[in-house]
Symmetry: C2
Subunit: 235 residues, 2 copies
DNA sequence: CTTATTCCTTGACTTTGGTGAAGCAGCGGT
DNA sequence: ACCGCTGCTTCACCAAAGTCAAGGAATAAG
């Protein structure tokens, strides 16, 4: 049922990484895959949770629709990342909606299967907790970013996450459209544009969906600056 | 070891709510309590996690120190709330620091005990997942607030959470100092002051640590307003 | 009672970023 | 090639909130 390459991706996911091969394989044998087209909804906030998902390919966005209709992006995930773990066991409903932003394939693992298996194999619970913890950590990091950094700094951080190099220069392909990047970083598309402009003075060039960082260390420096520091340089 | 009133509080916590009495009691018998003075540190971000905590009395703040030394408050918990669940099982280190903001008492549950017991009683895993999920949910709500509401609206939301009434008027005692409230809501103390002033036009009065809401429904209305709506009223 | 300290508020100023409108480029369809 | 769509950028404007600085109120200490 599951192709070898898919299996390899799933095995890398935090959710399965700590499990012995034999156990992970048993679970994966009972999982299914499905393709989604850009724009499709995986689930809506408020839906009763039935599955845990692992992204095999493409990009998925998790977001919340506020009471006033505004959208707040809570996470954007790609290959090897799972979502929906915690909620599938805590009862209740998905607190967010999930939408496919580029054509994608997802692995579905039915929560009921995991639930049952957990009875005999408590290490599954630990694995799920590890996944949930990773999400917690990601959300905490986002909160910190939002509270302590300016828009341009958040953009810098976003670029640096995509850049594998530690130093020197680096060219990145933006993984999804700028409107979504803006949402993920908690700003309007217009502000993202301005942020990119501001980063030009830090050696960042954007053309189409390619970003070039002239000096990774310099950009990291900029990102880490204290909010009140910039004017100090004017002295 | 555990007083009756403490036991009652702990039993109410999400962490234990779903467990059968017999199991919860077994765990609680092996837990310890400790008193803390205002300002004490419970753990620091980066510490290896050993315990799960349940607040029996007082207020605890969870926060992160950013690379630049700024503080980002991630949560403020009181009686009946637990913290540290997910990390205690996911390995790694606490992603946040915990500090006591008013004299408090905490229940410590050693993670190793729960780990061991989980082997025979998988429902413990589900209980921990439920707790972790609650935190996830709280963080998602905070992100949404931060991205979609103005400062004054967040303050309104904060007050409404403390107000038990659904309608009419209501007086609240602010649970901790304003500097911390400001931190929790992602703003500077000065901005909190100004936000309070702004809410006066919505029938909110602050004196010392007492807040009076003249009309709860009116304030809720204000909180739910779209960001772009206010000026529309000027037409 | 006086002083020091801490916390809170206010004021003036500046920066950031949201808003609405306009323009432009790229792309798909006819 | 032409149209219309969508996504991105730019502009001008303004509101929200951070910063620095000063002053007030309550509390603790001498």
């Amino acid at each position: 049922m599951l192709e070898g390459s898919d299996l390899a991706i799933a095995r890398e996911a935090v959710l399965f990484a700590s499990l012995p091969d034999e156990l992970a394989d048993t679970i994966l044998q009972r999982a299914t895959t499905r393709s989604y087209r850009r724009g499709e909804t995986v689930f809506l906030q408020g839906d009763p949770p039935e599955s845990i998902f692992v992204v095999l390919d493409g990009w998925i966005k998790l977001f919340r629709i506020t009471s006033t209709g505004a959208e707040a992006v809570v996470g954007v995930f790609t290959k090897g990342r799972s979502f929906g773990e915690a909620v599938a066991f805590a009862g209740g409903a998905y607190p967010v909606s999930a939408e496919v932003v580029t054509d994608s394939r997802l692995l579905h693992v039915r929560a009921s299967i995991l639930s049952t298996m957990m009875r005999d194999r408590p290490e599954i619970a630990t694995a799920i907790l590890a996944s949930a913890f990773r999400h917690l950590h990601g959300l905490v990091a986002q909160l910190e970013q939002l509270k302590a950094h300016t828009g341009a700094q958040r953009v810098a951080e976003f670029l640096l996450e995509l850049c594998l190099r530690e130093k020197g220069s680096c060219t990145i392909t933006l993984p999804y459209d700028k409107t979504l990047i803006a949402g993920r970083l908690g700003m309007q598309p217009q502000s993202l544009s301005r942020a990119f402009n501001r980063l030009e003075t830090q050696g960042v060039k954007i053309s189409h969906n390619q970003a070039t960082i002239a000096d990774v260390e310099r950009l990291r420096e900029y990102m880490l600056q204290d909010r009140s520091a910039p004017w100090r340089k004017a002295e």
